[in-house]
């Protein structure tokens, strides 16, 4: 019993390190600035201030309109398409590569636009369905309902 109480106390103490969760909202307020650079800035701030929960709260569910780099070797299947959110920056400041959940038709649009090029620019619209971001876990993004606006290379 004493051990169980101790464990509860430890668990409770650990939870106090995380900021209070913001009150859930009925609908996500669209962000005025929702580029990948905006997200990166907020994640950097969260790393300093511990505001991970509010970043997740603000960004999950956001409609995105991003232009990214598609590497053929990392985006060759509808359920395994990872794209680079930033150009090569020598060196990369962030490791994360968003996962796009593509329908078969959208993957075909990517492949038609990119052809055999190793990398190409893809502009898409989609919903940030899941943002993994915390002091403990590496950042990861899952973007669903992806619609390809354009895919070009050269």
């Amino acid at each position: 019993m004493k051990a169980a109480l101790l464990m509860l106390a430890v668990v409770a103490a650990c939870h106090r390190h995380e900021e209070p969760r913001p009150t859930p909202k009925a609908a996500i307020a669209p962000l005025a600035h929702a580029t990948q650079a905006d997200l990166a800035r907020e994640l950097e701030a969260a790393d300093r201030r511990g505001t991970w929960a509010s970043v997740r709260q603000r960004w999950q569910g956001q409609a995105l309109h991003w232009t990214v780099t598609r590497y053929r070797s990392l985006c060759g299947a509808a359920d395994a398409c990872f794209v680079a959110p930033f150009p090569i920056s020598r060196p990369a400041k962030h490791g994360w590569m968003p996962q796009l959940e593509l329908s078969a038709g959208e993957l075909a649009r990517v492949e038609a636009g990119c052809g055999a090029a190793e990398q190409c620019q893809v502009t898409f619209e989609g919903t940030l369905r899941e943002l993994t971001a915390s002091a403990e876990q590496p950042t990861a993004l899952r973007i669903s309902d992806v619609h390809i606006v354009s895919a070009t290379h050269g």
Binding site: A3, A80, F82, A84, R90, A92, G95, E118, E136, P138
Partner: protein
């Protein structure tokens, strides 16, 4: 030219300041006993139907580290994970768990007299382990062997007249699987003098140090997808297996004044390793601890951009004028390709071809990793990507490796 590169390497502390994965991230550096250092995998030189896997832990051990010599942690799980279908998710896991014993608590001595066998009454402090095999799909766990002795520390000549004869009694064979756990000579060779005001230059700084090794030799058909070794010439995703080692600790530890500590909760991964040097020179400081907690299947999602655009060649150019090739506009897809052979998902896994006919001679990094492979030179050369050989000036281990299981050299003695 080589001299200039070596001189330049003196100034690239972040490049070679760490051995393969020794003390590579801030948090794991505070928890030495569960710190992965290296993983090796090669077709057995004595039986080409078997695969040898070496998972090393507990870095940079001084032989004269008594009276409480190094061991494995009794509170941790040490695991080797195998992906046999190319999706970067473990399909089979081998798990070691340890328990320590002492015969006489009224002495400070590790051994109370000369030791000539593992069952010697003079061997006061001992450790044993259980080795399990876990089917990650069904969750089924089977004990391969239990109460297996860990080889003792090589205390010195007064304690062990013939240390290796005693240590090799810790080799256990069950149903075609061989296992060994215990101290060995540190097999990783590199120049660590970078810490002395960047004074690197071909010094064998890991010579004379030890490491804690888990060595496993298993029939290849027991780790291949479906239990069948792929045919010779196959090139699909199942023609290779991907391997990584990890260590995990219970989530909650309660320290007490009245008795020993208690550990509670599920096990949390605190360290992992597939390729050498990934967490050292590819993953930046901000993500090193996160890397150790994460899974290879998520490596592209979490860390892919670092691999496409690594820091290493920029540092080589900045500090060494090494004339490394600029990262192409399309990124280092060549490195991604090395991490994704035969159509497998890109991940930090040590992948090796297991098709019929493969031999030990073909097991060289990045197709597996032999004990003799100079991975520092290989990876620096790949990173620089200008056609020149880049090296640290240390090209081989000080002690020869052995021709028979467990293949690693006998550990350095605390009193030679």
């Amino acid at each position: 030219m080589k001299k200039m590169i070596m001189a330049g390497l003196m100034m690239t502390g972040s490049l070679v300041a760490h051995a393969s994965s020794h003390r590579e991230a801030p948090m794991i550096a505070e928890d030495q006993y569960v710190d992965n250092t290296d993983v090796y995998a090669f077709i057995s030189p004595t039986d080409p139907n078997k695969l040898v896997i070496v998972a090393d832990y507990v870095p940079l051990l001084l032989p004269t580290s008594g009276p409480n010599y190094y061991k494995f942690s009794d509170d941790a799980r040490y695991e080797v994970h195998i992906d046999n279908n190319g999706d970067a998710k473990p399909d089979i896991t081998y798990r070691w768990t340890f328990a320590s014993q002492r015969k006489n608590g009224a002495t400070f001595l590790y051994n109370t007299g000369a030791v000539d066998s593992l069952t010697s009454p003079n061997l006061n402090v001992t450790q044993t382990y259980t080795l399990e095999k876990i089917d990650e799909h069904s969750g089924a766990r089977g004990v391969i062997m239990q109460d297996v002795p860990v080889a003792p520390w090589n205390v010195g000549k007064r304690s062990f007249a013939n240390y290796e004869q005693v240590a090799l009694q810790a080799v256990k064979q069950v149903n075609g699987t061989s296992a060994f756990a215990g101290p060995r000579d540190e097999p990783f060779f590199v120049d660590l003098h970078v810490f002395d005001l960047l004074g690197v230059g071909g010094s064998h700084t890991t010579d004379g140090l030890n490491v804690m090794s888990l060595v496993l030799e298993v029939p290849i058909n027991e780790i291949a997808q479906g239990g069948v070794r792929p045919a010779s010439g196959m090139t699909g995703k199942t023609s290779v297996v991907g391997i990584y080692a990890s260590a995990s600790r219970p989530q909650v530890r309660v320290l007490r004044t009245g008795r020993d500590r208690d550990d509670y909760g599920k096990y949390v991964q605190v360290s992992r390793l597939g390729w050498p040097l990934i967490n050292e020179v590819i993953i930046p400081l901000q993500d090193k601890d996160k890397y150790n907690r994460s899974s290879p299947k998520d490596d592209v999602a979490n860390f892919g951009a670092y691999i496409l655009d690594p820091e290493v060649p920029k540092l080589l150019n900045l500090v060494l004028n090494a004339n490394c090739a600029a990262t192409p506009a399309g990124g280092r897809t060549d490195i991604v390709g090395l991490l994704a052979p035969n159509g497998t998902a890109a991940a930090d896994l040590l992948r090796i071809n297991i098709t019929m006919g493969q031999t030990a001679d073909q097991s060289h990094f990045p197709n597996g990793r032999a004990l003799t492979d100079d991975v520092t030179d290989t990876l620096l050369t790949v990173a620089c990507n200008n056609g020149s050989h880049i090296g640290d000036g240390v090209d081989a281990n000080d002690k020869p490796f052995t021709a028979t299981f467990p293949y690693l050299a006998s550990p350095a003695s605390g009193n030679p």
